[in-house]
């Protein structure tokens, strides 16, 4: 009654099929899937064919970072704000300039980039990571002091996880203002900062 068009395969052919299936599956896995999905490249095919480029570290793509709280903002409360912060506004600000700065942040490392801005100097900024990787950042400033202590006071303007940000910044005091970027991934991240306003670069 049940006329099945089952194929007839003998034992030898069957074993051959299994071995072939195993080899094909394994080969595709090692050459392509492993480099592209897990960033592991045991025989170098990921680099050769470019599959490795598809791998993105989970840290850089997911927004499951730890919550940022008051205690993460600025220097510890036992460090008092220097009196120099109350200095009068200067008559003249730095000349209006613009720059584009590229930073390479090594894997798992942090980098600071700061510029000089006088009190109430205004600077427009924008920054982004090249491949949209998310980094930890602390946009902050240090008051210019005659005799800075070991542990300097700093004020955080923005602490966040992001891959891009832009805005206008008016300095609350004369000093160094800029960003601390922390690369959370296992790969180098390139960040480009654009600035336009009343500031001066450190050279």
């Amino acid at each position: 009654m049940e006329k099945k068009n089952q194929l007839v395969v003998n034992k030898k052919q069957l074993l051959k099929s299994i071995v072939i299936a195993f080899i094909i599956g394994g080969l595709v896995f090692v050459t392509a899937v492993l480099p592209a999905e897990y960033g592991k490249d045991p025989i170098g095919t990921g680099k050769f064919f470019g599959f490795s480029k598809l791998y993105t570290n989970e840290n850089s793509n997911q927004l499951n970072f730890k919550k940022i709280e008051f205690k993460d903002v600025g220097s510890p409360s036992n460090i008092i704000k220097p009196l120099e912060a109350n200095n009068p506004v200067p008559v003249k600000q730095f000349d209006l300039i613009q720059d584009s700065i590229t930073l390479n942040i090594p894997a798992k490392k942090g980098i600071e980039y700061k510029v000089q801005i006088r009190k109430y100097g205004s600077v427009k900024y924008e920054w982004h990571s090249q491949n949209k990787e998310i980094v930890f950042l602390d946009f902050h400033g240090e008051v210019a002091e005659k005799n800075p202590p070991k542990e300097v006071f700093y004020e955080s303007y923005t602490v966040a996880y992001s891959n891009n940000m832009a805005g206008t910044f008016t300095a609350p005091f004369k000093g160094k203002h800029g960003w601390y970027f922390k690369n959370l991934s296992n790969k180098e991240i390139t960040i480009t900062i654009k600035l336009k306003g009343q500031y001066k670069l450190f050279n």
Binding site: K4, N5, L7, K11, L14, S17, I20, I24
Partner: protein
């Protein structure tokens, strides 16, 4: 029957256009919805279920294996019913009783089910073990695991528990609709292919490729399990 061909063609074309196999799991937009959703949302969950099934290549590969040598509509219906029964039971049970399973291990078992079916289609059990296990029971059991896989996928997102049952039923119904659409498409292709001798001629290769895909997915999931 003749007149139906045109309809079938359009249907299959629509199926094909709607199938964009890019990733298994739940994509970013869906994830955003799941996380932000409050209360009853039958329609969206239905859609997510259907989409998950149509883009879920592991479920589809297993089903292709299951229906590969099924020629009668009645038989196909019986096997698919067993599969549906299995995965619906564990999907509902898993989510409602909040059973958390490791997604990699469940998906590894699903991958193993693909290898099993390819092996079975090649007559492997008769050849090597001299005995054919009950294929209907096997489909039911693997259906149970596929259901746990679906449950785990849905649970990965801590979505609102308000209206959970209705949403869950929507998701489940969506899964069946997705399965129906995908299977319809596969069956139409098989229907044409089976009229040619190449079907039997290539069936050995096809099932070997099926097993290869199973091995690949198994390695993929196990690696994921051990790395995380």
């Amino acid at each position: 029957m003749k007149m139906d061909h045109k309809k079938l063609f359009i249907f299959s074309l629509l199926c094909f256009l709607s199938v964009s196999i890019y990733a298994h799991g739940v994509d970013d937009a869906t994830q955003a919805f799941l996380l932000g959703n409050k209360g009853i949302a039958f329609g969206p969950f239905l859609y997510i279920g259907a989409k998950h099934m149509i883009t879920g290549y592991d479920h589809l590969l297993f089903l292709i294996g299951v229906i590969f040598f099924l020629y009668k509509k009645k038989e196909i219906l019986i096997y698919i019913s067993f599969f549906t029964l299995g995965h619906s039971a564990t999907l509902l049970f898993g989510v409602l009783s909040d059973i958390q399973m490791n997604a990699y291990l469940i998906d590894a078992i699903i991958a193993a089910s693909i290898i099993y079916k390819g092996f079975d289609n090649l007559g492997g059990f008769k050849q090597i073990f001299g005995k054919q296990p009950n294929t209907k029971v096997a489909v039911l059991i693997f259906g149970l695991f596929h259901g746990f896989g679906l449950a785990t996928k849905l649970q990965e997102f801590k979505f609102d528990k308000d209206g959970l049952l209705v949403n869950l039923l929507g998701f489940n119904l969506g899964v069946e609709i997705g399965q129906f659409l995908a299977l319809g498409f596969v069956l139409i292709l098989f229907d044409f292919w089976r009229r040619h001798n190449s079907f039997i001629k290539f069936s050995k290769i096809t099932n070997t490729v099926l097993m290869a895909a199973g091995f690949l997915l198994l390695a993929f999931q196990l690696t994921g399990y051990f790395l995380n």
